[in-house]
């Protein structure tokens, strides 16, 4: 009898000791003369349960967690290999309500498969989208993507199909597909999960993009903070080449697509697409003026699609199941699903893929279970360091690009960071300026100088010096940054700053207006 056990290779699982757990399981199996195969899968995204171990049983996969090395012997004693009872037994994985309540389209295979096994990928609908695409014209592929309503998941929410159409219609001897895997926003990790847990879906999405617009070379620009993602991606790319899902004449189609991973070097601004292209070209990551759009003059001056990891990883399901299938999810002009990342001071942090329309409150309490510290959640920042802070009174806002715009907030890359009532919002506003000062590319004055000025003024406010006048200064400064910055780093730093002042004035030495919205 041979047994299969899953122990994630995901960085966050590793951060809780998953490697040791896997080694201990193998050692214990050997000492008991049991034939156990350990598969290193991606994470299911229930991070408070990591390392989450699953065993394959006749009823389905049974989950145990969190499993530390010290728990392994007792798991064997209680016959966990056949799903035996144990204090850490969580039940059938697929039946766990946290997963069952989700709509996993982009993350359908997450945690299910061996991330670098082509066979596993193909037996779970892998490459169905690309197979369809290879039999279609570029224009038809682009039409499917446009009709699906997919908007860029990197932050700006620009319609993906329209960007592709521009690149497709350019005449050029060389075009590029660039995947933005710089994922710099605090509170986000969905790109990392895809690259570590289901890298083929990204490879497939990029290949479809290449076939659609006529590009034969792709680059994944990966942040250097993700060494494990780098390793898994490179292994997956190697395996894809070996089975002719990359390279020349893919599956006999006559199409060519080459793919390479390039590392960033710890600059947040290089997530901005033109800064990223400069960096890929081997330069300082200075933001470019637009126009020209990267779609027309991008990498090395050639037409270039730049898309976020999640945008690209969503393409295969659109091409597999059709635009209508995807478009059926969501609300308003926000179609499909969003992989939401719960982070910070939340009890049950993890990945929740849901159709647009779910509210913050449902995410924070139904999925998240409230704060990790047990204190009231006072503020949440949605959309990374350039996103607004929202107070409790706004927790019923549905996740929808336009609804968020109405309350002067952004969804960004779908990260939600929660803070309990010990947070000092004046310090968070100061940090927003500080972060901007550290990461500014230096090209425009409001961002480069304004951010440093912002830190100084915030210090005065925090020390209680002339708050009213200094807050006016911060507002003026924010105005200048909003209107005078070339990119959203300088242009959106006022979001966290002003939202903190407007929603939490008492932290800035101002009197809270009763019933302020």
């Amino acid at each position: 009898m041979s047994y299969t056990v899953f122990v994630p290779r995901d960085s966050s699982a590793l951060s809780m000791g998953a490697d040791k757990t896997a080694q201990t399981i193998l050692a214990e199996a050997a000492s008991r003369n049991l034939d156990v195969k350990v598969v290193r899968n991606g994470s299911r995204g229930m991070y408070w349960l990591e390392p989450l171990v699953e065993v394959v049983t006749s009823e389905g996969r049974v989950a145990y967690g969190p499993v530390l090395p010290g728990d392994v012997a007792s798991l064997f004693d209680n016959n966990f290999l056949e799903g035996g009872a144990h204090a850490l037994r969580l039940g059938l994985t697929e039946e766990l309500s946290w997963l069952k309540k989700q709509e996993r389209l982009t993350f359908a295979r997450m945690g299910v498969v061996d991330p670098v096994s082509i066979d596993d990928y193909m037996s779970h609908d892998g490459f169905n989208g690309l197979k369809n695409a290879l039999a279609m014209s570029g224009a038809d592929i682009v039409k499917q993507v446009t009709d699906s309503g997919l908007r860029g998941r990197g932050g700006a929410a620009f319609p993906t199909g329209i960007k592709w159409k521009t690149v497709m219609e350019c005449q050029s001897d060389q075009k590029y597909i660039v995947c933005n895997a710089d994922e710099g926003d605090s509170g986000t990790y969905s790109d990392r999960m895809i690259m570590e847990g289901d890298p083929f879906v990204l490879i497939e999405g990029m290949t479809i993009a290449g076939v659609a617009v006529g590009a034969t070379q792709g680059y994944i620009y990966l942040r250097s903070e993700y060494p494990h993602a780098m390793e898994t991606l490179n292994q997956a790319i190697k395996n894809a080449y070996a089975s002719n899902w990359l390279g020349r004449n893919i599956q006999g189609s006559g199409k060519t697509f080459d793919l390479e991973v390039r590392l960033g070097a710890g600059a947040y601004v290089c997530g901005e697409e033109t800064s990223l292209l400069e960096s890929l070209e081997g330069k300082r990551g200075l933001v470019r003026f637009k126009p020209p759009l990267p779609a027309i003059e991008g990498l090395f001056g050639k037409p270039t699609v730049v898309n976020n990891v999640i945008s690209l990883a969503t393409i295969p399901i659109v091409l597999d199941k059709g635009a209508d299938y995807y478009k059926d999810y969501g609300m308003g002009r926000s179609r499909g699903t969003l992989p939401i990342q719960l982070a910070g001071n939340i009890k049950q942090c993890g990945l929740v893929e849901k159709a647009f329309g779910i509210t913050l409150r449902e995410l924070l309490y139904d999925f998240g279970g409230g704060s990790a510290t047990g204190r009231p959640i006072r503020a949440v920042q949605v959309g990374g360091p350039l996103g607004a802070y929202l107070p409790e009174s706004q927790f019923d806002t549905p996740l929808d690009y336009e609804k968020f715009t109405e309350i002067w907030a952004v969804l960004g890359h779908g990260g939600i960071v929660a803070f309990d009532d010990t947070v000092d919002m004046a310090k968070m506003a100061r940090y927003a300026f500080e972060f901007c000062a550290i990461e500014s590319c230096g090209k425009c004055t409001p961002c480069r100088i304004g951010s440093t000025r912002g830190v100084e003024v915030m210090d005065k406010i925090i020390s209680g010096t002339d708050s009213t006048r200094n807050i006016e200064l911060v507002r003026d400064l924010s105005d200048t940054m909003l209107n005078g910055s070339l990119c959203a780093l300088g242009g959106m730093t006022p979001y966290p700053v002003l939202s903190a002042i407007n929603h939490f004035p008492e932290d800035f030495g101002l009197v809270k207006k009763e019933q302020a919205a």
């Binding site: 966050s12 990790y189 960071v417 947070v423």
Partner: protein
């Protein structure tokens, strides 16, 4: 600052790295990564060869190296400890963690302990925001780190000496 000495052996290794990358499009970034992997930092003495082979000015090479937080211009300690100080980790008390580490190691950010063991660096997100606060020791990532755990992490690398 003391002049950094690069041995002949290392120089020839660097020459071969430069040779391997020079015809790659956008060679500079992967090349700098490779040199840093080899040396732990990017010695200024390599700028002339890089600029010659890639047809850039020394000032351009210098400009790129210093633009990116990840690239180091000086030899770091034997180990590099990165503490995430982004919002998610702040919400879970990374401030306390950084004060503790700075105190116990006797260094500030961007400094190395006097025994040359550990360089302390801030980092803005490790993508481990579901398990904040997070730190990274060399290539090893840790989540839900508290004061006790970080002391153990620091001890564990010191023991290996």
């Amino acid at each position: 600052m003391q002049e950094e000495i690069v041995s002949k052996d290392q120089l020839s290794k660097i020459e071969s790295i430069i040779g391997a990358f020079k015809s790659v499009p956008g060679a500079l970034m992967p090349l700098l990564h490779e040199i840093q992997n080899e040396m732990g930092y990017i010695p200024e003495s390599t700028y002339p060869s890089i600029s010659r082979e890639l047809n850039l000015s020394v000032a351009e090479v210098h400009g790129v190296v210093t633009f990116y937080h990840h690239f180091r211009t000086h030899r770091p300690g034997k180990h590099i400890l990165q503490i995430c100080r982004a919002e998610s980790c702040q919400s879970m008390g990374c401030g306390e963690l950084e004060t503790h580490v700075k105190c116990s190691l006797g260094v500030d950010y961007h400094e190395t302990t006097s025994d040359g063991e550990i360089s302390l660096e801030p980092v803005y997100c490790l993508g481990n925001c579901a398990l904040s606060p997070a730190v990274m020791m060399d290539d090893q990532i840790y989540g839900r780190v508290n004061v006790k755990r970080i002391d153990e992490i620091i001890e564990s690398v010191k023991e290996k000496v």
